[in-house]
Amino acid sequence: MKLIFEKSAAGRRGVQTAKSDVAETINIKKEFLRDKPAEITELSELDVVRHFTELSRRNFGVDTNFYPLGSCTMKYNPKVTERIASYPGFAHLHPLLPQLRGGGMLTQGALAVLYEMDLLLREITGMAGFTMQPLAGAHGELTGIMIMAAYHRDKKNKKTTVLIPDSAHGTNPASAAIAGYKVVPIASTDKGVMNIDALKKNLNDEVAGLMLTCPNTLGLFDPNVKEICDLIHSVDGVTYCDGANLNAIVGKARPADFGFDIVHINLHKTFATPHGGGGPGAGPVGVTGKLVDYLPVSVVIKRDDGTYALEYDRPKSIGYIAPFYGNFAVILRAYVYILMLGREGLVRVSENAVLNANYVRVKLKDYFESAVDTICKHECVFSPSKEMLDSGIHSLDVAKALIDRGFHPPTVYFPTTVKEAMMIEPTETESKETLDAFIEAMKDIAAISVKSPEKIKAAPVTTPVCRPDETAAVKNLDLACL
């Protein structure tokens, strides 16, 4: 398919700009001007629409295919949230308005969304206060670690390290390092949970805290989570919960109750906001009472007269994490979703998510190698069977073969602690019928892998492209058409 630049034709226009209604044409000093117009394309509106429509047909989305990406929670994105996010009363609101004197009164509806969302998330997680500012999960992790650092600075603690399981998502150590801490990886047991002895060995007064995904990246709830948090607290460390897998326990259990001091939530996972091809997301961060003072500013408060306002006077705050109040339109979508599910709906979410994952797990465990042989939470992890590996078939091949059968592959090669990992997270928005079809496809692939592996190696054959050469992409860097 051609690049949009190759479709450009001199003189074509898409949208017409209005004629100027002022007499002046300002001629800015020549030295400050560009010497020739930017090499932007010249296309008609139809050209543009056709180009992007054609591109869209080269994508799988949740709306088109089952998308069981482990740790991503690719659940259905409700259309009503798109509708509401486009209400002019939300979309056309300038972010600086409430920073004008009396300007808060111009944005009461938007401030109410932020405030009410804070309360909902507190109830869901057990935390005492939330910030909506983090613009993604990883951004939330960084925010959480910065809060951890502010707490220790305030208490004059000398802390240099953060403990992180080796099974953690890469953003965890990356965030801790960026915030200025040294990362100490903690090994997992062969049961896939944290090795408590390894934790104890690395526990000392330099430990600022721990980052733990709960349920963890193998889709397991660590039975020792309270003990782990208590151990960290014993050195005045701060416990951070990576809430990426909240879908497994929402409505059933709350991170604050296990001993976590900080939690981030991925609204684009648990709370159904769209993934957008890689973003935008939102990663609100909740904290327990002892850390509330450190939350970023501004904070939305509710005054005695019932009106909402922005509060900046928080001397211990870590400052600004985002330019404003967070990815408002994403927060708004998640807020609508939570309102529609309500208390009973949220419980159903985790129940059905966990049931769906275990249904897939039990039905596939005789055809694939299970990473761990226990009940899982909302996702299950497999590797290709020994017979498949002996035939030369790897997880990547299984993934490509699934594409030909109309399914987006599961997450592959994560977590890194499981060899040839394939992590399957169906989510609760998928029906038994879809799961049955997926299970049949996986069984089929397993069988063909042993009988005629070359067929699996050839996959995918139904897509516009097949097995891009990623090595060539690095060695012959072509990162822009200039």
Partner: protein, 126 residues
Amino acid sequence: MVIKGLLYTKEHEWAKVEGDIATIGITDHAQEQLGEVTFVELPAVGREVVQKDEIGVVESTKAASDIFSPITGTVTEVNTKLKTSPEIINDDCYGQGWFCKIRITDKASLKNLLDAAQYEEYLKGL
């Protein structure tokens, strides 16, 4: 494949000691784990390094491995061929795929290294 006569580290580097110059590279095990090498970051000539210091990175499309200096000394030469043809490391990791040369300033640091038999044992246990 492990070659006799070389010294090894647990981080899968090898060192060939000739007089007071050590030639450094990564082992067959390392290059196999990485897959096709796409990029190499070499240290600066003249840099003084302590054993276990990070002296460079070897990248493939799916992984990036830090290279740690097996010995204490000064970098005297780097294999500039790796800039244009990093895949030499896959083809000939003990020969043409050498990484850099270091003049040893602390002979005692050699004691911490493994010989071929010890490295082979170590690989078996992984």
